[in-house]
Symmetry: D2
Subunit: 258 residues, 4 copies
C-alpha cells in the first residue's frame, strides 16, 4: 500500500488568478506534509440545483486555465466531463478524467473516458451500493484501460442527506482499483437550502479521519481560501488555512493503518 | 382533475414487429377500459447495469419504429433521450420527450428537451426528495415551456432497494404539473441480481393501486407479453394479459378519489 | 376478505369526559359509514421524547375509564401495555392488548400478552423489515394464542423521518394474520420538534387511502376534536370532523380491492 | 480527553467457566496494550429474533457470575437491564448499568437506572438521530445522576441493515457525556439470517478504526474465543486472538486524534 494521495482544489474555476493561486497554496501545503497532490477544478457545474446557479467558465476556457496550472506548477490535473464530446479535448489537458456521480451509470460516457487512455476517476452514485461499482468499473475496463479510481462520496440516507458508510472502502478496494474518499461532497445536504445544496463543513475532518483510518488510497477535498464567498459548494468546502493541520493528522493515521 | 392516463409499452424496442404488436394490444386494452394511452418504448438503454446488457436498436432505427407505431395506430409516443444531440431528431417523432431519472439534474439536457416545445416527462432521481423537483422543473420552465410531467419512480432505501413514498404525490402535485407514478421501475431492485437489476413484479399491482388512491394524473408501466423473455427489465415488467384487470381496478379507485 | 375495521381514539386518555365523548362521536361516525370500530386510548405514554411530556392518568385510572367506555357504548377497547405486570389487569378490561412498536422485540412481553388469551395487536418496529414480523408473531403463537394483529406504522428513513412502504402490506398478510395500517403514527416526524415529535397530519388521508388500496384488514388513526390542543401527538392526529369524509373514501376503495 | 477505554466480553454469559476465562484473557490483553477494561456480559437476551434462541442463565445466576468475575479480577462489570425490577439487584453488582437500544426511549426504565446512582450506558436506538439522544440523556439527568455514557450502535439503513454514521460521534459528544462506539452490534444484519441476525465480523476492524479516528471515549466489542460456536451474536463477534493487534491500532489512532 502506497501512502495517501490528495485530490484537491476549488469546486469550480472561478477565474484564472484565483485558480492558480489556490493551486500554488495547495502545492506548498502538500510539500510541507509530503503528500502528493492532484489538482482538481471543474470548468462547468452541469448539474447544479437551480438553473440560475453559477456554472463556471465552460470547457474551452476552463481547460486553458488548467493547462496553465499544470505547466506552471508541474502538478497533475483532474476535472470532470459531462458528455462524450468533452472527452477528447479534456484528455489533451487532464491527467485524470472524472465521471460525475450522477453520470456513473452512463455506459457510453464511461467507455469514452476510458478509451482516452487517461486515468479515469469514477465517482460512485449516491444511489449505488459499493459492490455495484464492480459493473461500473467493468464498463471502463472493457476498453482495455484499467487505470481506474473509484471514489466514494456518500449514499442517499432519507431526504436531503447523505451518509458515508465506512464498510464501503474495504468493499470497493476488493474490486481491485485505488479507492478515494470525497470528504467534502459527502457532507453535502443535497438540495438542503432549497435553491442550492447545504453542507456541513464541520464534519469534513471527522469523516476524513474516519475514512483514512479504514485504509484508503486517496482523499478528495474541495477547498477555498474563503468558503463563504465561494461561487459553488461553499458550505462544504474546507478553508485552505485549516488544511495543513488536517493533512498532518490524516498522514499520521494513514501511516498506522498501512 | 382529469381521469387517469396510462403510459405503457415495452422497456426497450426489441424489434419492429414486437413493438407494433405490443402497441396494438395496449390500444385494445385501453379502449376496453376507456383509459387514454401514451405508448412508451426506449430505443437505447444507456445506463444498464453491465456493459454487456442489450441496449436496443439505437436512436435512428428506434425512432423509425416509433414513428410507424404512431402513424399506424394514432397513439401519442414517448421515449427517453440521453444527450442534447438526441433532442432534435427525437422531437420530430415523439409527443413526449422523457428525461431519465439519473439525468434529471443535468441542466443542459433538461433545458434542451424543454426548448423542443414538446411535453417533457422528467423522472425524479432516486436520490432526490419530492420537493427537490421544483428546481428541476424550474430548469425546464426557464425556457418558456411549461408542458411538464413529473414522474415518481421510487427513492433509494438502503442498498439495492427502492421505496415508493406515497407522500411524494401530493408534494409533487403542489409544484403545479401533472404527476405520474412509474409502477414498474419502482419495484426494481437496482443491481440486485449482480450483473443486472432484479425486480418484484408481484408488487406492481399493490403500488399502482396505492399511488392511484392518492390521486395522480397518470400511471407508467412497462409491459411485455412474456416478461421472462424480455431483453430488459423483465423482472419488473407487467404481463400484458394481467393488465386489463389491473387497469379496471385503477380506474375504479381513480374515480373515487377525483 | 372481510370489510375494513377502524381502530381509533385519542392518543392518550386526557380525562374521562373527553374520552367518553370522543368514543361516542366515533361510534356515531362509524355507524354512519357502517365501519366496525375498536376504540383505542393509551393510559400511559411510556416512551415520550422528553421526560417532561404529559403521560396520561396511569394504568389503574385509565383502565377504569376504558371499562366505562366499553360498558356504556358496547364498543371493544384497545390499549397498549409496557411491562409484563400490566398484562393481567389490562386483559381484564381490554379486548385487544397492544404491543408498542419499540417493544415488539421484547420476547417476554409478547409472550405474556399472548398468554392472556386476548387478541394481541403487535406494532411493527420502525427498525424492522415486514418479513421480520414472522418471528415476532411466532413468539406470540408459541403460547397457543394465534389471535394476532400486525400493524405497520412506518419504517425509519434517514433521521427524524418515517416512510410507509406499501409493499409491507402484502408481505405482512402472507404471514397469516390480519394487517392494520396505523395512518397517524406513520406521518410522525420522530423527535422532529426537538423536545417532541412532529407530524404531518396533511398526509394521513393520502397514506390511508394508499394503504387501503393495497387491501388491508384495518386502519388505525388517532383522532381529536381539537388536535392543536391535544396533550400528545396532536401534530399527527386527525380532526374528528374530517373523519366521516375520509372513512367514506376508504370504504369505497376497500370495496373495490376486496 | 482521556485515552480510549474498552468495553468487551461475550454477548451472553454461556456459563461461569467460559465467562471467567474470557474475562481473564481480556484483562491480559488490555494490560498488554494499556487500555482500561470494563467487562461486559448479558445474563438475559430479552429481545432475540426468535422465541427459540438461547437467552442466557437469567438475572440471578448471571449476576452471581459477574460478581465473581468482578471480585476475582478487580475489573468493573457492565450488563444490560430490561425492566425496572431488575435495576436494584443489578445495581448491587454492576458498575455500569446498560439500557438496551430498543428500550432507550422507555422513560421509566432510564429514570430507574439513573436513580440507582450507577453509571448508566444508554445505547442509541437504531431508529434515532444522534441529536435525539439529548432528550434521552435528559431523562436520566432529571434524577440528578449525570454519570451517563452514550453508545452508538448503528442506525437503520433500509431493511436488515445498519449504517454507522461517523457524524454521530461529534454530535453525541456535544451533548456532554462520554461517547462509545459499539463496533460489533453495528455490523449486525438485523434479522438477516431469517431466524436470527446475521453479522459482518470482517468490518468490525474497519468501523472500529474509523470511529476511533473521529475521537471517541470508548469502544465496545463483543468477543469470543470461537465465534462460530457462540450461543449468541457469533457472526458479529471478534475472535479473541485477533483483539491485541486491533487494539494496538486503535490505541495508536486514538493518540493521534486526542
Amino acid at each position: 500500500d502506497r501512502p495517501l494521495v490528495l485530490i484537491a482544489g476549488p469546486c469550480v474555476i472561478e477565474n484564472e488568478v484565483a485558480t492558480m493561486r489556490c493551486a500554488e497554496r495547495l502545492m506548498t501545503i502538500c510539500n510541507g506534509v509530503s503528500i502528493p497532490l492532484i489538482f482538481k477544478a471543474s470548468y462547468d457545474k452541469a448539474n447544479r440545483t437551480s438553473v440560475n446557479s453559477f456554472r463556471g467558465p465552460g470547457m474551452k476556457d476552463g481547460l486553458k486555465i488548467l493547462k496553465k496550472v499544470k505547466e506552471a506548477l508541474g502538478v497533475p490535473v483532474l476535472s470532470d466531463i459531462h458528455s462524450i464530446e468533452q472527452v477528447e479535448p479534456a484528455a489533451e489537458v487532464l491527467d485524470v478524467v472524472q465521471i460525475p456521480a450522477f453520470l456513473c451509470r452512463q455506459t457510453d460516457l464511461v467507455v469514452a473516458a476510458a478509451r482516452s487512455g487517461k486515468v479515469v476517476n469514477i465517482k460512485k452514485g449516491q444511489f449505488l451500493a459499493p459492490w455495484d461499482m464492480e459493473n461500473v468499473a467493468g464498463k471502463a475496463v472493457s476498453t482495455g484501460n484499467d487505470n481506474i479510481i473509484l471514489t466514494e462520496r456518500g449514499v442517499s440516507f432519507g431526504y436531503n442527506n447523505l451518509v458515508s458508510d465506512m464498510r464501503s472502502f474495504p468493499i470497493l478496494r476488493k474490486i481491485g482499483y485505488p479507492v478515494v474518499f470525497d470528504a467534502t461532497h459527502s457532507v453535502q445536504l443535497p438540495g438542503g437550502l432549497g435553491g442550492s445544496s447545504g453542507g456541513q463543513r464541520e464534519f469534513v475532518e471527522y469523516l476524513g479521519r474516519a475514512a483514512v483510518a479504514t485504509g484508503i488510497d486517496g482523499i478528495f477535498m474541495e477547498v477555498h481560501d474563503d468558503p463563504e464567498k465561494a461561487l459553488c459548494d461553499g458550505p462544504n468546502s474546507v478553508k485552505l488555512e485549516d488544511l495543513p493541520a488536517l493533512l498532518k493528522k490524516l498522514k499520521a493515521i494513514d501511516a498506522i493503518v498501512k
